[in-house]
């Protein structure tokens, strides 16, 4: 019984932490656009907390490079369980158009385990909402 309530609460209240891991701002502002009136993800209880210790869903946009991979790892470790990682945009998935550049390590999944991949360049807000919803499936288990 309690578990059922807890699961429901978890899916109803995904607090997101957004980390721009070297994206071009495209996906970034689309993530922010999700919070604004036209998409308003607060309908689903999503709020941007900006503090890893409070977050449940980790939205990562952009390529990983040698400097920010440590930050990424660090942030990931600070998020308490249960957590969901959503990689956003072509850059977050594989490195996108930049994956052959010298300072690019590749997609987010090279550093931390990723649960949901949201393709697009930039990913549309609709796709980002879909992605978070898909990620919440993991919490139901």
């Amino acid at each position: 019984m309690f578990n059922k309530i807890l699961t429901r609460a978890r899916t109803m209240s995904p607090w997101v932490l957004h980390f721009d891991c070297g994206s071009c701002n495209g996906c970034d502002i689309e993530v922010l656009a999700c919070l604004t009136p036209v998409y308003d993800v607060e309908r689903f209880g999503m709020i941007n907390v900006g503090n890893p210790m409070h977050a449940d869903v980790f939205l990562v946009t952009g390529t990983v490079n040698h400097r920010n991979k440590k930050v990424l790892r660090n942030l990931y470790d600070q998020i308490p369980d249960p957590k969901v990682v959503v990689a956003i945009g072509a850059c977050g998935l594989t490195g996108g158009i930049f994956r052959e550049a010298y300072n690019v390590v590749g997609g987010v999944d090279k550093i931390i385990p990723v649960d949901v991949y949201v393709p697009g360049c930039p990913a549309k807000p609709e796709a980002i909402i879909d992605g978070v919803v898909l990620g919440l499936e993991k919490l139901k288990k």
């Binding site: 036209v38 959503v86 072509a90 991949y117 949201v118 393709p119 697009g120 796709a127 919803v133 898909l134």
Partner: protein
């Protein structure tokens, strides 16, 4: 002070700006740049798309008659579809859905035989 009042009062009384997305889906604009779709039966495996792709996510093997694309590296610029000589490559207006596993689109066709085996192969 409080200069914002008329605006927020208008918001309070007026219609919400929110699109109730998952419940109400707005149709995509007709020339929105979404997923790349290859009609493998008419593909001639000329390789122009692979050469033009700025993200280098398309590989074409003429001998084996295969066409593959890594949609997670695709930047949806639409250059491949524009430059396709046979018109087999098209860009649809729907965006690609999020997935839990990365996939690679791998299509095999035979140039003279109208016969294709589209299949999605998992990456690594």
């Amino acid at each position: 002070m409080f200069e914002m009042t008329p605006t927020i009062m208008r918001n309070f009384i007026g219609k919400r700006a929110t699109r109730r997305y998952p419940y109400v889906v707005r149709p995509a604009f007709e020339n929105a740049r979404g997923v790349i779709y290859n009609d493998i039966r008419s593909c001639t495996f000329c390789g122009v798309c692979a050469a033009k792709c700025p993200s280098q996510c398309i590989t074409v093997d003429k001998k084996a008659a295969t066409w593959s694309c890594n949609p997670s590296a695709c930047v949806y610029c639409g250059v491949c579809a524009e430059s396709c000589l046979s018109g087999s490559l098209q860009q649809k207006c729907d965006y690609r859905k999020p997935v839990q596993e990365k996939e690679v689109i791998f299509l095999r066709g035979e140039i003279n035989n109208n016969h294709n085996i589209p299949m999605a192969m998992k990456n690594e």
